[in-house]
Structures are given as structure tokens and as C-alpha cells.
């Protein structure tokens, strides 16, 4: 889950990474006295999307006109996301902007630290245009500190200046279960080094131990699905999809697209789904407006096809449910649904074709 900039900055500050003076303001709240923050201010929309600056989510202000500028920000949507909270910060007297991040690198299975002399810009673009502009060092996840040799490789002659910040961010990364801990830009000023912006993405599998109870990256329906143990993603089409296993369900969506249809959702009921879970899944998918037909594609390993069939029957939804069942207790499953108005198919391709026709 991606944290808001202000949440990430509060964490950074607790780990000794300097952040600009600032105050959080929620929509509808009164703007507090800003005299102590600075003569020049920056108002930043707190939304969990990238490209915020380009989308008009960051505006300059003075303490005198901050209330008016804040009102303007609260009326905006940043790339489709309404602004519910803003961060009012001092405008830093920036000397130079750098880039620093630590991420989980899938290829090496280890943390990777990135540093660039040119921060504040689109870092992927900078890396493409100037090879060597972004320095990369992998660090063993077993190390509690970034060793000096790695700091020298990463920072060149700037170890004294940035070494402490790198080590503090390393601590944040490790202790907060971060998938990504980013400071862009990391700025130098007359008063020292500051994290002018902050991005922190926490591993979804570690939210519990990080004390995060609500995954804000999910829609309410996605959260309801999660409470049933389903993986669920809302899409724009009219064919409701239920599968078991993430890969098979994804492949089912792809096949719908291949045959010219559009899926309304991704729903993986998970391993060993029983009658109750299948019933909940079918009802959840059917309950979304605009779903014309439902496609159930299950390959039983641990999952028993007869359980699945009973679950589909129990759900009793108004839409046609197209069924493809294969594997454990396949024949019993088919018998349960036979003659009750549930079209059944032997292969994925046949089932998907029929669902696409029904959805067209």
C-alpha cells in the first residue's frame, strides 16, 4: 500500500531524516497560523498517485493567500483522485536536487539502492538518456547497516554529505517492510540536507504487523472481497469472472479479450474453495451493476468440483452462469448442475467464447 507523502515524511522524520517544516490540513478544516512555517509556502495535494506536480497538485503560496490556494486545491481532482488532504510546507532554499531510493529488486532478490546527482526529474527518463546517471548498489537483506564500501560505490565523493541519510532510509526500508522508500528530490540547502518529497510503499503482506488495518489501495468492494479471502480487481467490462488461482484467472481474462469480450472483474477464489466461498464469490460478482453473464472457470486440484457446483446452485443469481469445471470430482459436479440452466463446457476456450457471445 502506498502511503501519503505526509505519512511517509512523518516516518522519515522519526528516523532522523530532515523534512521541511509543514502542517497537514484536511478538507473542511480551518487553515492554522502559518507564520511559523515560512514566508514562502508550497501547498501539496496528498494523493496516492504519481505525476502530481504535472497534474497541478502542487501550488506556491504565501501565508496571506494560503487559504485561497488551499480552497483551489481542495476543489481539484488529481488524475481522477479527489483531494481530501493537503500538506502546507515551507519553500526550501534549494541548492541542488538529488535522487535516492531503496527498492526490492526481483531479479537479484535483494534490496537495491539507487542514487543520482540529478534529482527532482523523471528518473526513469534520466537513466535512459544518460547511462551511468543513476548509480545502483545491491545490499544483502541480512545487513543491518549499509557498509562503507557500498556507500562509496553509491555516493562517490559525497559519503560524508549523504551517508547518514542513506543509512537512515535503509532503516526505514527494513523496519517498515517497504517495497519502495524514495526521496525525490533529496535536496541540499544552507541548513543541510532535506527530504523535499517522500514516497513509501509498504508490502501488502506486512500491513498487519505495520499496524495498518485498511488497505487504501483497494476499493470498498475489493476490500469486502478480501475479507472473504478472495483476490478481486474491478474492471470495466460486462462478463463477471470467477477462477481459482491467480494465473488461471488472468489467463481467463486474457482469453475473453482475445475473443473480443470484456471482463467486469478478476476474482480468484483461492485454493481449496468450498461451497460457501463459491456462493459468496458468485453473489459478489453478480451484485455489480452491468454484469450480464458470469463465467466460472475452475480447475480442481484441492478444490472439489462438486463443492463448486453446489456453491453455484446456492448462489441462485439472476444472470446466466457459464461453467467450466475440470479436475477432482468433475463428473459429480456436472451432475449437480445438469438440466438446471447452467451451460457447461469442457474447455476454457469454449466457455469463454460462449460468455463473450452472451455478453455482446
Amino acid at each position: 500500500m502506498r502511503l501519503l507523502e505526509c505519512e511517509a515524511k512523518e516516518i522519515y522524520a522519526r528516523y532522523g531524516i530532515p523534512i521541511p517544516k509543514g502542517v497537514r490540513v484536511k478538507a473542511g478544516e480551518k487553515i492554522p497560523d502559518l507564520a511559523g512555517i515560512g514566508p514562502e509556502l508550497v501547498l501539496k495535494a496528498q494523493v496516492e498517485v504519481g505525476g502530481r506536480g504535472k497534474a497541478g497538485g502542487i501550488l506556491p503560496a504565501t501565508p496571506a493567500d494560503a487559504a485561497r490556494v488551499a480552497e483551489e486545491l481542495f476543489r481539484k481532482e488529481i488524475r481522477g483522485v479527489p483531494v481530501r488532504e493537503i500538506l502546507i510546507e515551507e519553500k526550501l532554499p534549494i541548492r541542488h536536487e538529488y535522487y535516492l531510493s531503496i527498492l526490492v529488486d526481483r531479479s537479484t532478490r535483494q534490496p537495491l539502492i539507487l542514487f543520482a546527482e540529478a534529482g527532482g526529474v523523471d528518473i526513469e527518463q534520466a537513466a535512459k538518456e544518460t547511462p551511468g546517471a543513476v548509480r545502483r548498489v545491491t545490499i544483502s537483506p541480512l545487513l543491518s547497516d549499509v557498509p562503507p564500501f557500498a556507500l562509496r560505490d553509491l555516493l562517490g565523493g559525497r559519503v560524508k554529505e549523504f551517508g547518514p541519510v542513506v543509512n537512515r532510509l535503509w532503516k526505514v526500508f527494513r523496519e517498515k517492510d517497504a517495497m519502495l522508500a524514495e526521496v525525490n528530490p533529496l535536496v541540499t540547502t544552507d541548513r543541510g540536507v532535506f527530504a523535499a518529497d517522500a514516497k513509501l510503499i509498504v508490502d501488502d503482506n506486512a500491513l498487519g504487523r505495520q499496524g495498518i488495518t485498511v488497505n487504501r489501495d483497494l476499493t470498498p468492494r475489493e476490500r469486502e472481497a478480501e475479507s472473504h479471502g478472495f483476490s478481486y480487481v474491478e474492471l470495466d467490462g460486462n462478463i463477471g469472472v470467477i477462477g481459482n488461482g491467480a494465473g488461471l484467472t488472468m489467463a481467463t481474462l486474457d482469453l475473453i479479450q482475445y475473443y473480443g469480450g470484456a471482463a467486469a472483474n478478476f476474482l480468484d477464489v483461492g485454493g481449496g474453495a468450498d461451497q460457501e466461498r463459491v456462493k459468496h464469490a458468485v453473489r459478489l460478482v453478480a451484485g455489480r451493476p452491468g454484469v450480464l453473464v458470469i463465467l466460472v472457470n475452475l480447475l480442481g486440484g484441492i478444490t472439489r468440483c462438486d463443492d463448486v457446483a453446489r456453491g453455484i446452485l446456492d448462489a441462485g443469481v439472476p444472470q446466466t452462469v457459464m461453467v467450466r469445471l475440470a479436475g477432482t470430482n468433475e463428473e459429480e459436479g456436472k451432475k449437480i448442475l445438469d438440466g438446471r440452466g447452467y451451460p457447461m463446457f469442457a474447455t476454457m476456450d469454449e466457455a469463454v467464447k460462449a460468455a463473450v457471445e452472451a455478453g455482446a
Binding site: 488461471l248 488472468m250 480447475l299 486440484g301
Partner: protein, 288 residues
Amino acid sequence: MIYGDRNTGILVQGATGQQGAFHIQYMNAYARSVGGRGVVAGVTPGKGGQEVHGVPVYDSVRKAVADHDIGAAVIFVPAAAAPDSIMEEAHAGIPVIVAITERIPVHDTMKAIAYARMEGAAVIGPNCPGLISPGEVKLGIIPAHLASRGPVGVISRSGTLTYEVIHELTRAGIGQSTVVGIGGDPVIGQTFTDVLERFRHDPATKAVVVIGEVGGALEEEGVAATALPVVGYIAGVSAPPEKRMGHAGAIVEGGEGDAASKIRRMEALGVPVAQRVAEIPALVKELL
């Protein structure tokens, strides 16, 4: 045979749990049908001295390996305990560790895998169905009746999609040498590169099916590093960006790891990529 054969003695971690006990039964039924050793020991701390389906249970891996010749371990314990299990097995010298467990925090996985590497152990998973070498050994939960013995290796980040593929291959008369589910998490032990390298040294494997999905670049990296004939398939062509598609690792992030770019890179390496699962057997036949 790339991670074990019928002579491999298997240890099950979490033997007295519901999942562990259930799959001990299935792994041993398979071992009996192929004349293999199967599961020889189970481990659950505090339950030493018990038996599960005739398999002796020990309090620790150290005690189990003192009594048995063990070549591989399969882990069925919950996410909070699984990283410790991986390290315990690696420390005891077990060379192949299959972690079925899902929802392990990534930082724990990174540490456990780094530790296992130092001990010289290969970790398969986590969040995976394990592997089967038809006619030899089953390490994990892949339904054995779908598989058949033959010359094609299968590597996949998925579970049921793998079953679908081997079901299609078997129906088309194409058997498998070894089927490996490497796991759906962002960080996994054995990657496509590692498994392909094992297949390269396996005389039973003549071609490999690489079943990938959105997220990361492990598929392209693996295919680029092998000389074996490969057929590819990538799930998630229709997946929207920045949405996690069931697997923790199945997400297109920052414009990277999308299916189209993976397919493009694989095709640029001369690898045929199936658009539908049903096309895979025909593409494989062309390579054999």
C-alpha cells in the same frame, strides 16, 4: 530429474497441520505408485514422537536429518513461521526447499533466501505449488493425475494455470520431464534462469514451456540466458496497470513488467509465444 528423483527422501515441515497432513498422504500415494521413498519424516515443534499417516514426526529438522537421509523439504507452515522453516532446513543441510506458504512478507522472504543461499540450498517458492517429475517424485501439491512422463520441462509462476497447461500437454500426448511452479511472489528463490540452467543439464528435457505473468522481468532474463528450445506464454495481457492480479508479484508497476513488453522481448529472442493456453501443445510439437 532436476531437484530430486524416486530416491529422494522428503521432509514435511508443518506435518501435523491440516495442509501438511493432507499432502503427506498425496505425496506418499504418488511415491508408492512410482516406487519412490516419499515423505520419510515430518517436523512440528512440540509434536515430536507423533505419527502422521505413518510418518514419524520430529521436534526439529536437526533431529529428523539425524535419523533419515533427506534430500528435499516441503513447507506447509503459516506465513509467520515459514521463513524460519526455510532457514532451519538450509542450516541442517537440506539442498532443496519447497515453500508452499503464501502471504509471507517480502522482507522475510529476502532474508530467508539470502541465508539459504549462503548455506547452499535452493529454495523453490514461496507461494508456489512445488514440483513434480512424473514417474519419479512429487514435492508439493501439483495434482499428479494431470501429469505424464515425457521430454518437456515446464516452469511457471502460477499454480492452477500450470495444471491447465500440463492437462493440455498430456491430452496432446506430450509428456513432461519436470514441472516446477516457482511461485507468484515478487521475490522467489529459484527463478526461470535457475530452473532453465538445471534443465540444460537434464538429459530427460528436450524443450521447455515458460509460463510467466505480468510483473518483473524474470521471464525475459531466463529465456535470454538459455540455449534450450523454449515456448512462452504470458498471463495478464489484459491486466490494468498498478493493480495486483491475485499474486503479490503480478503487478505492472511504473510502466514496467507488462505482458506486451515481455512477449516482445521473448519473441525478439526467437521464442514462440502462445496467445492462448490451447496453442501451447502445437508450438511445443514444432520444437521436438
